[in-house]
């Protein structure tokens, strides 16, 4: 049976608790903006990013590193919105 959306979103939200304050703030803003509208593709992209180590993830979010992966690229752009 597929897990309901609340459970999936809550799990993702908890995985946004990071070791770096910078990322905590980026994700907090993201959820305030997109929490209600995040679709399945967005969830999948976010879940992939959340697998990364914190310093690597922060380097992608702040533009120090870049990725060619279109799915990740799109999500990173959404995370960068201030």
């Amino acid at each position: 049976m597929e897990e309901d959306r609340t459970a999936r979103i809550n799990r993702l939200k908890w995985h946004c608790r990071r070791a770096l304050l910078e990322l905590d703030i980026v994700f907090q803003r993201f959820w305030e903006r997109e929490g209600d509208v995040l679709d399945a593709q967005g969830e999948a992209a976010l879940a992939r990013l959340l697998e990364l180590e914190d310093h690597d993830l922060w380097a992608l979010v702040n533009g120090k590193d870049v990725t060619d992966d279109p799915q990740l690229k799109g999500m990173l752009e959404r995370l960068r919105v201030v």
């Binding site: 459970a7 908890w14 201030v82």
Partner: protein, 595 residues
Amino acid sequence: MSYTVRKFDAVIVGAGGAGLRAAIQLSEAGYKTAVLTKVFPTRSHTVAAQGGVAASLGNSEEDNWHWHMYDTVKGSDWLGDQDAIEFMCRKANEVVVELEHYGMPFDRLDNGKIYQRPFGGHMSNFGEKPVRRSCAAADRTGHAMLHAMYQRNVKVNTQFFVEWQALDLVRDADGDVLGVIAMDMETGEVVVFHAKATIFATGGSGRIYHSSTNAFINTGDGLGMAARAGIPLEDMEFWQFHPTGVAGAGVLITEGVRGEGGILRNSSGERFMERYAPNAKDLASRDVVSRAMTTEINEGRGCGPNKDFVLLDITHLPPETIMKRLPGIHEIGIQFAGVDCLKEPLPVVPTCHYQMGGIPTNYAGQVVIPKDGNPSVPVPGFYAAGECACASVHGANRLGTNSLLDLLVFGKSAGETAVADLKAGSSAHKPLPQEVIDKTLARLDRLNNQKGGSNVHETRLDMQRSMQKHAGVFRFKNLLQEGVDKILQVAEQVAQTEIQDKSKVFNTARIEALELDNLIEVAKATMVSANARTESRGAHVRDDATDTPETPDGRDDKNWLKHSLWYKDGNRLDYKPVKMKPLSVDTIELKKRAY
């Protein structure tokens, strides 16, 4: 509400540097060890540490543990216990070399030895000149450290319970600690981890402040759990602040920005540091800069609609210099201040960074409390290490790079002592006290069923704003007094938090409400201890503590050379003496702390 019981020899709460180091000791000795953590181990806050770990290896120039000890005692403004400080500085080389053997990729010299760099406050020959003592792994020291120790733990079969939240300590009527009650975040299931040894390594509590460099995870859970179980919290008035956190966000702006020529300005654009430190100006020490910034804000010369920050200006520097020498700062400005720092100044405030106080321990990692006239009696079965513990090596102020050392040394010694106690102790688990478990279940029930209660987010914000205003980096008598009333009012709100989401799977609303139960204990301890301590010492600086020959810079050794102990019950304070006697060398005698 139902629960199950699981038995272990040892349970460790926390999988940051301190918890992982302690776990190695227990698992290597063959004890069945559970490590509980709210997040995956290598996402613990230790990851944020970049500066390095101190050890007097002497790889680049002459150095020794006695000089390191002197610097640490002086840094602590003589509030650190000299036996624990000697222990830590003497053990530093051993634990750093061990870490190397676990696979830590330290930066190296051409000759293959660990590369060392200088760091503020670390000196050679008893305070003479800076020494290279910090060992680092590029700018990922903390991260590399956790990886190396996590791998080691996997090898020795430590059992990890990832995404579990410990809720309360199990302490019976004799005062013995028998484990923890915890919740599986994934399912909401409650489990009692019944253990013969319980080690807390839950990290800091920097989120009690509105402006904090700490990640959201640093909610002082270990301190809250200890306080609820009747254990006092030591020296909670001492918090290290960093002068330049981005206002409203807390993200650290490195000192390097002022090093490269950044200038602090008030609302009229004045370079106010010229008035406070005519020579060093913006490069004065952290304390001096933080205090000047607070004075500007308090006297109405702050910026923004609420006049609650000052500006860090680098617009006069060539953009190439900024982008080359201060990588990352431009992006931090854009992301967290909404400011392009090439064109506009950055809003900054003194920001909470590190907690010197914590659960009282001795250098063996045992939690110690006053009993029958003895100020430091071990609590059977209970140990603590890392930022949640107060050994006390940092006293009234911590030296940079000494906290990573603290968690290696005392993580190890807590583990070693637990192993020795397990060997000497009985093979059976002492029976669990039902009434203690019931109390935690009742706390959960209260939260799940609360109606018409307070909002967690707003209450936490209220607490954080009160702490920032009333017990910030520079403290005032009347503000502290008002602060005590204010924080007790907030505590009443915390006791009635209400959550809308009642689901079981990763219920973040519930997790955050439970974290707030812990934060508020730390906040009360801080406010009450700071209000009572009428001197200035280290990071606790009061406007009304006057500079006289007997009380240089407001430090009053006659009345205040003692550790504070705050008890949750009755919100009361007690004190215990500072251990001035080291293990093998002479006491480092009291002196004015000047750099």
